[in-house]
Symmetry: C2
Subunit: 309 residues, 2 copies
């Protein structure tokens, strides 16, 4: 089958965004940008066997490939608008493509983002999505704005995705809630939008709490003190940490796609309303301080950060 | 080495574009868009062994990965502005990365595009670039505007890249000019910009003249008659076609990244000036006609179109 037939068959659902002037099917897609907005863009690749187990189904792969990119928009406080898809496939499998495209369409509709272009190639399975969002001028959440005294917060619970992967690797039956977080992380777009003008810095937790919080500290040139016992955990994670005396999945597990952000004292009273409105648990886990290091109090067997190489 | 160290070391040269508000190093990059412009975006993947021989050096790979994306902007008449890079590498090889990043930087500076973000992963060598350009409202060159009676034109010469690949595959010493076109195609950005308001439809020749012209015909719902003898060829290609009585490399070879475009009669007198100003040869190869098919007159052994699958 020719590339353009493949694209036409599986990836040309119509967009209802009026700003999409020209979608899939030309050398490039065309969008208009409303005055008052800037662009935010990022790109993320998922590779079979690296970012998801080889056994993962097309539905979950499509979901996650878009979700991790939506999560980058969330971490910037941006409104996701468009994405392009570079899909590398070992073979043409219509039922795989059907499931992949259906799942991608579903998540894209849920978040109001339009697929506007792409490229398909033959090779080992890999999915790259490039996403474009809009941001009101000067309102983006950067990594570099944390100040001494700011509280450090995370959304929902931490470590679930890594715990699920650990269970799979140890041939345990995976806990269903944790497994859902591994395969179907919920991009915190609404939370990110609500934190504009409230948070001083923000990042999404993709590589693990320690590594991602460290990015904020480095960009902001500050240190932090985190109380391990304050990190919100589900019951299975609490049991795991207690039983194994092992904090590595919580602190360095990654793949949670929750937000980690810092908030100046004057804005902290707004977090209760934001939590309610976004239906997201928000928990303070520490405080930004002067020391240039990240101090984790009360955790043993922290493990190592995820290394891309 | 950690991903962010890798990025910092090789991919954070500063941008001199004032519209880049925030470049590499956060969850997303931020750009402003001037009033009066819309966005054009596309994405393209190159895979080792598929889009370039495994033996290709990092310098040529980087060049081509960006060039094919710049070529998409050229085909839309857009002004390339920014790009993001998703790089999948089998190993961390500092000298490879050094060559790759230097070459990427050089071409990006030549065309005034800024690298604003990226992702690095481990896996078989593959390079995906997502490019964003600006286009003046309603001035994009689409595939769908060709009208009956329009002349069909191509830039420079056709078939050189495919001939070079054919030579490599047949263990011939590759002709140096053709080899340069295979590894270092020149994106026709200036020509694309000049064709705004002049051409009625445009595409870049990546998959071969027949396949790419057919995209224009299908999108425009017209047919075409092309005179094979009018297709501009270098001397080595003319010799090859004559000797082998084989038009397949010319008609279905691909990888030329020249522009194929249609021009209404009233605008054809402008092409001389455009050719001079852009220092690009422009040759009429046929005419758009009513029949829904592409008729190639005077060519034997046409070969088959490039199939992505």
């Amino acid at each position: 089958m020719q590339e353009f037939d493949l694209i036409r068959e599986y990836f040309t659902w119509s967009s209802d965004q009026s700003s999409v002037v020209l979608g899939v099917g030309d050398d490039g897609a065309i969008c208009s940008v409303e005055p008052g907005y800037g662009l935010v863009t990022s790109i993320d690749t998922l590779i079979a066997g690296v970012h998801f187990p080889e056994s993962t189904g097309a539905t979950d792969i499509a979901y996650k490939a878009l979700a991790v990119n939506l999560s980058d928009m969330a971490a910037m406080g941006a409104l996701p608008k468009y994405f392009t898809l570079a899909l590398t496939l070992p073979e043409m499998d219509p039922s795989w493509l059907q499931n992949f495209s259906q799942s991608l369409k579903q998540l894209s509709e849920q978040f109001g983002v339009s697929l506007i272009g792409g490229d398909t190639t033959r090779g080992s399975l890999s999915i790259t999505i490039s996403i474009i969002g809009w941001i009101e001028h000067s309102e983006a959440l950067r990594r570099s704005g944390a100040k001494i005294g700011d509280g450090i917060y995370v959304s929902n619970t931490i470590g679930d995705a890594a715990f699920s992967l650990w269970q799979l690797q140890n041939n345990d039956i995976p806990d269903s809630d944790c497994f859902a977080k591994l395969n179907r992380p919920m991009p915190q777009v609404e939370l990110g939008r609500s934190l504009r003008g409230v948070a001083s810095a923000c990042i999404d937790i993709s590589d693990g709490l320690v590594q991602d919080l460290s990015h904020i500290l480095k960009a902001s040139q500050v240190g932090a003190r985190v109380e391990a016992e304050q990190i919100p955990l589900t019951k299975v994670l609490t049991d795991h940490v207690t039983k194994q005396s092992d904090w590595s999945l919580v602190l360095n597990g990654g793949d949670d796609y929750e937000l980690c952000f810092t908030v100046p004292e004057k804005n902290q009273e707004m977090l209760g309303d934001i939590s309610k409105r976004c239906d997201v648990k928000i928990t303070q886990i520490g405080v930004i301080c002067e020391s240039g290091v990240l101090e984790i109090v009360g955790a043993k067997n922290i493990g190592k950060s995820y290394q891309h190489f």
